[in-house]
């Protein structure tokens, strides 16, 4: 995902001379390095200083440039939070804040590098749009939209590298603000947010019961919340499962439950999120998800 973002950014930067990137001491992956070499003035590294990363982005955007702030999710959103709120959201500037390694992707680095609450925090901010692509293909479409179309602040949550392109089988194009059907089934609707789409596909590929014949949706735009498509989903399915690698009040799970109540949806809803805990566990990304009980096996057991 990181590389896909970089490729798209580099291509766009050749066409748009007002496109700029501010990073805070993160090593530029793949094509970002090419961008840095080709357009050194439009690549700014503020060093280990996140408040000025956001402040400069805002000032440059006010001066007419299209700006992206880019670093690890915890440092692009948490550390400079009030700058994101006041400089970018309050002034309503079309800046993209990229959070790399959203969720618990940085599995060996501990909770200082885990962005469990990023979705909750980002959705709470007025004017902020929140996008969480499922794979490199969705990252490509979302990045293009952010760089070319967006008129407001956007938090773009990305994973790391090597994600499989689960959404390539979809008949629907990625579209900002829309829940996207990836695979059609009959029994239940599995709504997955971000890279945990792999768990959704495990459910339909590995389970032996009627779960096999379920629909998988990618819920990549979290804010604005796509109530239109949700209404259709409420109508067509008696059971909905949400899988997302985040916790807190602004997540898809919590928003969906509130909306279902409002709409008098009488089907079953099962939501699977990260725990509201700092877990002192290290290992692979899957190991950390396991300690948060966010695995195919655990989910299957709970929804039987």
């Amino acid at each position: 995902m990181r590389n896909k973002f970089a490729d798209v950014f580099f291509e766009e930067s050749k066409k748009n001379k007002k496109l700029g990137l501010v990073v805070a001491d993160i090593s530029p992956a793949g094509s970002i390095e090419k961008f840095r070499k080709s357009f050194p003035k439009r690549f700014i590294n503020t060093g280990v200083a996140e408040q000025i990363m956001i402040g400069m982005c805002a000032g440059m955007a006010q001066q007419g440039m299209r700006m992206v702030a880019y670093t690890i999710a915890t440092f692009s959103l948490y550390r400079p939070f009030e700058f994101v709120r006041d400089d970018i959201c309050y002034q309503n500037l079309p800046i993209t804040i990229v959070g790399i390694g959203g969720g618990v992707t940085y599995s060996t680095l501990g909770a200082t590098h885990h962005a469990q609450e990023d979705i909750s925090i980002a959705t709470s901010l007025p004017n902020m749009q929140v996008i969480c692509p499922a794979d490199p293909l969705e990252t490509e479409a979302a990045t293009k939209w952010c760089l070319k179309k967006s008129k407001k602040p956007t938090y773009l949550r990305l994973g790391k590298a090597g994600e499989y392109n689960f959404t390539k089988i979809s008949n629907e194009k990625w579209s900002f603000g829309k829940i996207r059907l990836i695979k059609k089934g009959k029994n239940i609707a599995i709504l997955s947010v971000g890279t945990v789409i792999k768990i959704a596909f495990d459910i339909i590929n590995k389970s032996k019961n009627n779960l096999k014949d379920s629909s998988v949706y990618s819920f990549s735009t979290i804010k604005p919340f796509d109530t239109k498509t949700l209404k259709k989903i409420f109508k067509n399915y008696k059971r909905i499962i949400v899988i997302e690698e985040s916790s807190g009040s602004g997540t898809v799970s919590s928003q969906l439950k509130a909306f279902a109540q409002e709409q008098r949806y009488f089907g079953k809803i099962n939501t699977f999120n990260l725990k509201d805990e700092f877990i002192h566990v290290y290992g692979s990304h899957d190991d950390i998800l396991k300690s948060h009980e966010l695995t195919f096996k655990k989910i299957i057991r709970k929804i039987k």
């Binding site: 200083a49 408040q51 402040g55 009030e82 006041d86």
Partner: protein, 262 residues
């Protein structure tokens, strides 16, 4: 009339206007506005007459003086000024981006410097003319974010960036030379970060102007020694006037003092 005398005349009018507005609001932040009136007057009379120049009021709590000047310049109407901090008006205690003549939403301290650095750098990238001017309170220099911005400005050699520091020696609570001794010297901190540094009497148009005549070789800071509440004796250096508005009797006394001032 020379520039110096004209500035004195304008600033006296501005102070009176602010005092009269204070009748409408209990927390007008008079003293922090009075300390930077001559600086703001200088910036507007000298620089903001050109479209390419930008002024960010980082000490947003002193925005009332900015509104008064923008009113003089016709960008903010009398009607709007009358509705200051009222439900149907657009002007609040802190400046809001989008209001005519306002370049940034400030109010939370430590934000203006970064925005100014971003704007000045973007001007370089896009080869735009003009300067970016930012007025900071001295209290804002206690914010780490200000120094992140100061460092970046020097790294990027932003010779189109000018900071003014309203050094009235007071934060909201107390006198900084007493409570935070390591805060001083300010000029050496800036110069060690690679800035062109000046110290002047911030109530003196000519002294401020002299610094501007010197060519900008790198980011420039003009540290303006000022008096909080300047112009009204009982407001000068008294912390309560950071927020408070005068009562009827105090208002009459204050206006009289300004009238008698030579």
């Amino acid at each position: 009339m020379n520039n110096y005398l004209a500035s004195i005349k304008r600033c006296k009018i501005y102070r009176k206007k602010i005092l009269l507005l204070s009748k409408k609001l209990s927390a007008l932040h008079i003293a922090p506005a009075f300390s930077c009136i001559e600086i703001v007057d200088f910036i507007y009379s000298k620089f903001i007459n050109k479209k390419e120049n930008i002024f960010i009021m980082s000490k947003g709590h002193a925005s009332i003086i900015q509104y008064i000047v923008l009113n003089e310049k016709g960008l903010i109407s009398n009607k709007e000024l009358d509705r200051f901090c009222k439900p149907n008006g657009i002007l609040g205690t802190h400046p809001d981006y989008g209001t005519p003549g306002i370049y940034a939403s400030t109010g939370s301290l430590g934000h203006g410097a970064g925005l100014a650095v971003g704007r000045a750098y973007a001007k370089k990238v896009m080869k735009q003319k003009g300067f970016v001017i930012c007025l900071l309170s001295d209290g804002e220099l206690q914010e780490g974010s200000t120094w992140e911005a100061v460092m970046m400005a020097a790294n990027k050699k932003l010779d189109n960036l000018i900071f003014f520091v309203d050094n009235n020696d007071f934060s909201g609570l107390e006198r900084m030379s007493v409570s935070h001794k390591a805060f001083y010297p300010i000029d050496k901190k800036f110069s060690s970060f690679g800035w062109q540094t000046f110290k002047v009497n911030g109530h003196n148009y000519n002294q401020i102007n002299n610094c501007f005549k010197k060519k900008n070789l790198k980011p420039k800071v003009i540290i303006c020694k000022t008096i909080k509440g300047k112009g009204v004796s009982f407001m000068e250096n008294v912390p309560i006037w950071h927020y408070r508005s005068p009562n009827e009797k105090e208002l009459i006394t204050a206006l009289k003092e300004l009238d008698n001032e030579k």
